[in-house]
């Protein structure tokens, strides 16, 4: 078997090595010729083995028979013989001119190492559902956050970009769909310290493990119901210093923005809408004909808000080390201008990872990362909606630079561009994140290691928001002032949080013949605190002073608040692994957690798991199979917990203070903060997982299939309480939800002469069902319903069945509304009063979750060229279109999109949209119904890279490694029927995702 395995590996690496061989040229004058043969186990020749003279770039590669020839400076020069999957050997040829070198296979290297919770395992030993990614798989992407690079890469991990704002880009990620009503965020861990992933440099990432089933995640106990993502940063590797540089520069532009109608269409449809509502037309024929004249001015608000923006990303790293010391030091710099004016981010990442082996028994390592960052954003929120509603008739700026106000606009929407431009102010967030992990390993006995770890992550942020006073001039007489904004205003919010943990672990590992046993046990303590201080004042004399004291001296204009909170968690963890003959594996985990969030007597929870694996391809009956090269089945059972409920003190009946006034003097008031629940405890998720992974036809097709079923009990749930309860619903342990699904991952690779290619496809799905809601009836929240025996949060509302086409139809149909007339949406009668459309007629309209997220990745290599194509999408989904992408003449001053021109008229009875209505009667049609549920499935062409690699060159002492240059892009294309902004982002007008064209370079020396 081992031979077979070796052959597979050999085949896999041969081409790579042969290519490598071409890059390496021998340099310098050598005096002594030496030749030899390199063999593996069973005296089989090893081709493609690297043979170099130690400390120089001189070297060669063995041929097909394992032979090599080389000239070396002297017979005392050491040769380094290295080959992937084998232990590197050093040899001094001496007088022996025909060397015979036998390399021993390196078990650990043969097998990829996977980082699991509180330790590492060989990939073949894994018995749970863990997906892994190497840092190299996400390198060279022009993404600013690690999570974005994970999108579409891991089956069962569904990543969604909520918006595209630099520095605060919302990224939602979920592992295996929804299994609970409460929030159960994915636990993200960087170098052993729980921390958000948003400020880490993607280039520092060595590997990412995604722990999906409860058996793998149980080691994280009470925080693991959402699954766990473990990010490990790079380590120093023994050898001469390796310098690497990578850089990307790119130009970003908005992905999608629905187009507004022209001035004329706006006027015509607004007239039509008003007539439909029984109101006089707004624009006279004379005004309309003026709009038809070719010189009539039209203003593009999106164009004024958005821009092409530059992004650059540079990373420089050095790594290396010796026998007792290894280091990895990197400096990253990211600068991204936003595609919306007045927005940008800059981030530095400094990562210093070191390890010292004081002795064979004592090792220290530390990994520290610091990232100072600056984010700039417009000073106000909600401007996307203001811009979205602006008709093209409204002017933005006069030729001499004055902000203009159209006579019909008022308030916050009078000129959103003025307010978001630097002339309207700026929001500046300066933050520093520190993350550090200090570990000591002590190995008193050869099989026993004691590990002590201290981890720290802290965020210190200062947010400063300054809004300037703005003067608006009249659009049609720009010399006259139309209005001002009220005052300038400064807000300062200082916030800080610190998380610390200490782990003390002992692990023991021993091989007894065919038995391999390892045990790990220990305890951890984790604690967290946060606070913020908020101050606001206004009426600054000038706009350049950003300190509170420079504002009004009138203390009654000050607005001050501050908060603090903390939590802690203490745990005992243990894990045992046993394997027999390297084909049967079993693992067990128990974690016991105590949380400060629950009352003393109910704060401890125990989270066990068991899992097993069987490598079938090691068995006799498959060992010689030509088809199946590798096959493994896995099964697991486990329990994990969730403690996210009602803040950090859900047991406490807290009071909030406020102020009331009598005769102009303040008096203190108090009111309850919410309904407490002292009996609250863990939510528990139990899951079983079956996995099968294999490799067919010697690597031609690799597959991995996971099936899972989860049951979440004692869900932390705000049950709908009767309104007469008079208070917010308390969080309770109530309800059971089942979630089941599958994940499939396929890889295919092939090499045809100088051409090679690979295809990776992954897809998953999950379906939940509410088993129990402790007898409470359907929970209707907004336009969604949750009911026992059904999936959670199904769309719920009136079902639209086309348009009314005649007054007769309106009269014969159940009563809808006093103003219903032809061209309005018609709703289906489904019970209750048969003569009227009422809330009793609401029905289920479909599931609200995205189905079948998938990703596909193609890569091609031909000689020095490489091409990567990567796309991702969702196959099924229903989203509500609303806001300004729905048909909305909200008041007279908002406009519509070009696709709304396809609307009902007597001549177009089957149009896409109902007849237009204006402002107040809009709701007749825009109220939620099945009509506004849109197909939100999509496929997004996410990443393209076309690269060319220049062969490396050795000059003198330094060897220039290969240099790869590439061109590509991100978010290049989307295929969808969704009409709104973006099927991926939240369904209102938000910061659009950028599309980007970029150039990059990777070099090392």
């Amino acid at each position: 078997m081992k031979q077979d395995f070796t052959q597979i590996i050999l085949r896999k690496v041969r081409c790579t090595l042969l290519l490598l061989c071409c890059f390496i040229q021998t340099m310098g004058q050598a005096q002594v010729p030496v030749k030899g043969v390199v063999q593996g186990e069973s005296e089989l020749p090893l081709p493609g083995v690297n043979v170099t003279v130690k400390g120089t770039a001189t070297g060669t590669i063995t041929d097909i028979d394992g032979r090599f020839e080389l000239t070396i400076p002297s017979t005392e020069s050491a040769l380094v013989v290295s080959f992937i999957g084998y232990v590197t050997q050093e040899i001094i040829p001496g007088s022996n001119s025909a060397l015979k070198i036998t390399l021993a296979p390196d078990r650990l290297a043969l097998d990829e190492v996977v980082v699991v919770g509180y330790g590492q395992r060989r990939k073949s030993d894994i018995t749970g559902a863990i997906s892994t990614l190497k840092g190299s798989e996400i390198e060279n992407r022009a993404v600013t956050r690690v999570e974005q690079a994970l999108q579409g890469m891991v089956p069962g991990l569904n990543v969604t970009n909520a918006n595209g704002q630099p520095g605060s880009q919302g990224v939602d990620f979920k592992i295996r769909g929804t299994s609970t009503f409460s929030g159960n965020p994915v636990l993200t861990i960087i170098d052993g310290v729980p921390s958000s992933l948003d400020r880490i440099n993607p280039n520092d990432v060595e590997s990412i493990s995604v722990l999906k089933d409860a058996a793998s995640a149980a080691i994280y106990g009470s925080r693991a119901t959402g699954g766990v993502i473990i990010v490990t940063t790079k380590n120093g590797k023994a050898g001469i210093p390796k310098f690497s540089y990578s850089g990307i520069v790119g130009i970003q532009s908005p992905t999608r923005y629905p187009e507004k109608v022209s001035v004329l269409d706006h006027a015509l449809l607004l007239n039509e809408a008003r007539v439909n509502d029984g109101l006089p037309a707004k624009y006279s024929d004379a005004e309309l004909s003026e709009m038809r004249s070719p010189g009539f001015k039209s203003y593009d608000w999106e164009d004024a808000m958005m821009r092409q923006a530059f992004q650059q990303n540079h990373n420089f790293s050095v790594s290396g080390g010796g026998e007792r010391y290894g280091y990895y030091v990197s400096l990253g710099y990211l600068s991204q201008d936003g595609i919306v004016i007045n927005s940008s981010q800059k981030r530095f990442n400094i990562q210093v990872n070191q390890n010292f082996n004081v002795s064979d028994k004592l090792k220290f390592s530390m990994k520290t990362g610091v990232s100072p960052s600056t984010r700039i954003a417009p000073p106000i929120d909600g401007f996307f909606n203001h811009v979205a509603q602006k008709p093209r008739l409204h002017a933005i700026k006069s030729e001499d630079g004055k902000w203009l106000q159209h006579p019909e606009s008022a308030g916050a929407g009078r000129n959103p561009i003025a307010r978001i431009s630097p002339e309207g102010g700026q929001e500046l967030l300066k933050g520093t994140r520190f993350l550090g992990n200090f570990t000591m390993d002590y190995t008193p006995l050869s099989n026993l290691t004691l590990t002590g770890t201290y981890g720290l992550t802290s965020n210190q942020d200062r947010l400063r928001n300054y809004q300037k006073k703005i003067t608006y001039y009249k659009q049609y007489s720009p010399d006259e002032v139309a209005s001002y904004t009220d005052f300038n205003i400064l807000t300062v919010d200082n916030s800080s949080n610190v998380f610390q943990n200490v782990n003390l672990l002992a692990s023991y590992s021993k091989r007894f013949g065919k038995h391999q046993l390892s045990v790990m046990a220990g305890s951890t303590a984790e604690w967290y605190s946060e606070f913020n201080d908020f101050v606001e004042t206004r009426d600054f004399l000038t706009d350049e002073l950003y300190a509170i004291s420079a504002g009004s001296g009138d203390r009654s204009l000050w607005n001050i608040s501050g908060d603090a909170a903390d939590w802690s968690l203490a745990s005992f963890i243990s894990r045992g692994n046993y394997s027999y003959l390297d084909k049967y594996y079993i693992e067990g985990i128990i974690r016991r957690d105590g949380s400060s969030r629950f009352r003393e007597d109910i704060r401890w929870g125990t989270f066990p798991s068991v899992s097993a694996g069987w490598i079938l391809s090691q068995e006799k009956f498959l060992r010689n199979s030509k088809v199946i090269s590798f096959l493994k089945i896995r099964g697991s059972w486990g329990q994990v917990g969730n403690q996210n409920a009602g803040g950090y003190y859900p047991f406490a009946n807290t009071l909030v203070q406020n102020s009331v006034f009598f005769n102009e003097s303040p008096f203190r008031g108090v009111r309850p903060a919410g309904a407490p629940n002292p009996l609250l405890t863990w939510e528990t998720k139990e899951s079983i997982n079956l996995g099968i992974e294999g490799n067919l036809l010697s690597g031609l097709l690799e597959f991995n299939l996971e099936l899972f079923k989860e049951k979440t009990k004692d869900i932390l749930l705000q049950l709908p309480v009767p309104t007469t309860f008079g208070q917010m619903a308390p969080v309770q342990n109530a309800g059971t939800v089942e979630n089941r699904g599958w994940e499939l991952e396929l890889h295919h690779r092939k090499k045809i002469n100088a051409f090679s290619y690979g295809v990776t496809f992954q897809i998953s799905d999950a379906t939940n069902k509410v088993i129990d809601m402790v007898g409470t009836g359907p929970r209707i929240s907004g336009n969604q319903i949750t009911e026992e025996g059904r999936p959670m949060n199904e769309w719920y509302g009136l079902k639209s069945i086309g348009y009314f086409q005649s007054e007769g139809e309106v009269a014969d149909a159940p009563f809808q509304n006093a103003v219903t007339s032809p061209g309005d949406l018609r709703f289906e009668e489904n019970g209750g009063n048969p003569n009227a459309i009422t809330p009793d007629d609401r029905v289920r309209l479909g599931r609200s979750d995205s189905r079948f997220p998938f990703g596909i990745r193609l890569n091609f290599n031909y000689r020095n060229f490489d091409l990567l194509l990567f796309g991702q999408g969702v196959m099924k989904g229903l989203r509500q279109s609303q806001g300004y992408t729905a048909f909305n003449f909200d008041r007279d001053v908002s406009t519509i999109r070009t696709y709304h021109l396809d609307r009902w008229t007597p001549e177009t009875p089957n149009a896409r949209f109902p007849k237009p209505r204006n402002g107040q009667l809009n709701n007749v049609n825009t109220q939620f119904s099945s009509f506004w549920l849109e197909d939100a499935s999509y496929f997004r062409f996410k990443n393209l890279q076309l690269g060319y690699t220049f062969n490396g060159q050795a000059t003198g002492k330094w060897k220039m490694g290969p240099v790869r240059i590439y061109a590509g892009g991100e978010n290049l294309l989307i295929i969808t029927r969704y009409l709104g902004y973006d099927p991926e982002t939240t369904n209102s007008a938000v910061y659009p995702l950028p599309k980007m064209y970029n150039l990059g370079i990777n070099a090392s020396f």
């Binding site: 406020n658 008031g669 309850p672 309860f725 009422t838």
Partner: protein, 529 residues
């Protein structure tokens, strides 16, 4: 090296660190708030609980409601609400059980807070009897006020009489008459417990007069005329209140807490507790948003200064429709060519404002003090005022027993204060004619104060006054109107909104859908099924 020894040392260290007392480590208490368990230890703290009942959200009818009560004008034939929100759904008849204003009017939060007070007040050590009475009286007033608002909109509602657990809280409706009796009991207690006056430093607290006022209003709205008149008389007999000599000063910030006419003033403070009445009422060119605009019907309801309606007075001239009117007319409205005060230029309805001046008139009442366009207002809002009480007395007495001297007298007081002639006894000699006058006087005196909708509902006239095309004013003949190139007035009559009022359902509001969806026992009113 002695590894054994080293190992042992390390093991001891490790075990000792691991066994640091977990329970101390895990004991966390809220860092920024006090808790209910340790509260209720002094009279001062009990007072804090009561104080909170006075807080109100500016965008909701919860609690005392603040100036937000004025938005109810747009439900009625007094005003048009310009915004696209739900402001107009009531008046145009399109509202349903999922309407935001319907949901907002259904609120049991304050009711729970009141009952929590009753449950906890006995925990307070050494509570003085006077302190207990004063606090309890206020809480009972708030409890009664919440139920009054509920039955006025929703007729039959669930009656919660204690702090309920979740399982106890799922209640069906109780007939309106039973809820009414319950709230009247609360009010009787409040009247007994509350002081007639508070120290000046606590101006704005509920007094006995305010509780009596509320009781009069409750009885009036429920057509218990004799009792309503008697309770109103009790307020008059307190001899604490009187009409403020000058009508316009009732709506000037300078007179905050300085009017004998105010029975309950909602308290505002410069910069700290402000309101946006100016935004709701004022023209856009004055930095307002012109959200609530008076209807022509309201404008026409104001008599001429001779005490005759415009249809009968010889003083009325369509070329000068704004001349010679009831003096309150000039304190209530703003129109083209006028100004709010000397801080603003005269109003021009031809430019920017033309897109907003749907009815061609604006409210001046309540915003005449709005001078600094950058500062929100802090005019105290007169939630209960004596003129209203006198009008309630007149109405109740007239309905109970027909015209009598005291009815004419109170109406005279109001009219004379406004510079109007006293009631012409010959012109309004009987109950029916006087009813018409009282109703009109009420509409004029209280215009813009948010009470008209309640009136047209209880008088059952909404089906007449709300069931029609709302139009702008017709100012085509007005001499001072802005003119087009041909010399014609641009302020011609135009349609503003089609209003529908269905008498078979619109006299009661539907129970909010969210309340029905979250309950097993709550059924929708039959009219709304």
């Amino acid at each position: 090296m002695n590894y054994q020894k080293q190992f042992r040392l390390l093991l001891i260290l490790w075990v000792s660190m691991a066994s640091v007392s977990c329970d101390d480590f895990l004991e966390k208490r809220p860092l920024s708030s006090i808790s209910m368990e340790t509260f209720w230890t002094s009279e001062e703290q009990a007072e804090m609980w009561v104080n909170n009942l006075y807080s109100f959200a500016e965008e909701s009818m919860s609690g005392l409601g603040g100036v937000h009560v004025t938005t109810q004008e747009a439900y009625s034939d007094n005003a048009y609400g310009r915004t696209s929100g739900a402001l107009n759904n009531i008046a145009n008849g399109t509202f349903q059980s999922n309407d935001v204003r319907v949901a907002d009017a259904w609120n049991y939060t304050t009711i729970r807070l009141c009952h929590e007070f009753f449950e906890n007040i006995d925990r307070v050590p050494a509570l003085s009897e006077s302190g207990r009475k004063a606090l309890t009286g206020q809480v009972k007033f708030f409890l009664a006020y919440e139920y009054f608002k509920l039955i006025t909109r929703f007729r039959d509602v669930p009656l919660v009489t204690k702090v309920v657990s979740i399982s106890e809280s799922d209640l069906g409706v109780t007939p309106k008459s039973d809820v009414l009796e319950y709230l009247l009991l609360q009010l009787d207690d409040a009247i007994e417990d509350l002081p007639v006056t508070w120290p000046e430093t606590q101006a704005g607290r509920i007094t006995r007069g305010a509780a009596l006022f509320l009781k009069a209003r409750v009885l009036l709205y429920n057509e218990r005329w004799t009792e309503a008149a008697a309770v109103a008389r009790q307020v008059i007999d307190l001899e604490k209140y009187a009409l403020h000599p000058r009508f316009n000063e009732l709506f000037l910030t300078a007179f905050n807490n300085r009017k004998n006419e105010a029975i309950l003033e909602l308290q505002y403070v410069e910069n700290v507790r402000t309101h946006d009445l100016s935004v709701r009422f004022s023209p856009v060119t004055y930095n307002g948003a012109a959200l609530i605009l008076p209807t022509p019907e309201l404008v026409q309801a104001f008599e001429m200064k001779d005490g005759l309606p415009i249809t009968e007075s010889p003083l009325y001239n369509p070329q000068r429709p704004f001349d010679n009117r009831d003096s309150r007319f000039y304190d209530t409205f703003l129109w083209h060519g006028q100004t709010l005060n000397d801080s603003y230029p005269s109003l021009d309805l031809t430019g920017t404002e033309s897109g907003f001046a749907f009815t061609y008139v604006y409210f001046r009442k309540g915003v005449q003090d709005f001078r600094d366009r950058f500062r929100p207002m802090h005019l105290n809002w007169n939630l209960f005022r004596y003129a209203d009480l006198l009008l309630m007395y007149a109405e109740a007495k007239n309905e109970a027993s027909g015209p009598e001297d005291s009815v004419y007298e109170v109406l005279d007081q109001i009219r004379v204060r406004a510079g109007m002639p006293p009631v012409d006894r010959q012109r309004y000699p009987d109950q029916a004619s006087l009813r018409k006058l009282i109703r009109n006087e009420r509409r004029v005196e209280l215009a813009g104060e948010g009470l008209r909708y309640d009136d047209i509902i209880r008088w059952k006239i909404a089906e007449d006054v709300l069931n029609k095309q709302l139009k702008s004013m017709d100012l085509s003949e007005w001499e001072d109107a802005p003119k087009d190139a041909g010399g014609k007035s641009v302020l011609i009559e135009k349609n503003v909104q089609t209003r529908v009022f269905d008498p078979s359902r619109h006299y009661v509001w539907p129970i909010p859908q969210i309340a029905i969806d979250q309950s097993k026992n709550l059924m929708q009113h039959p009219e709304w099924k």
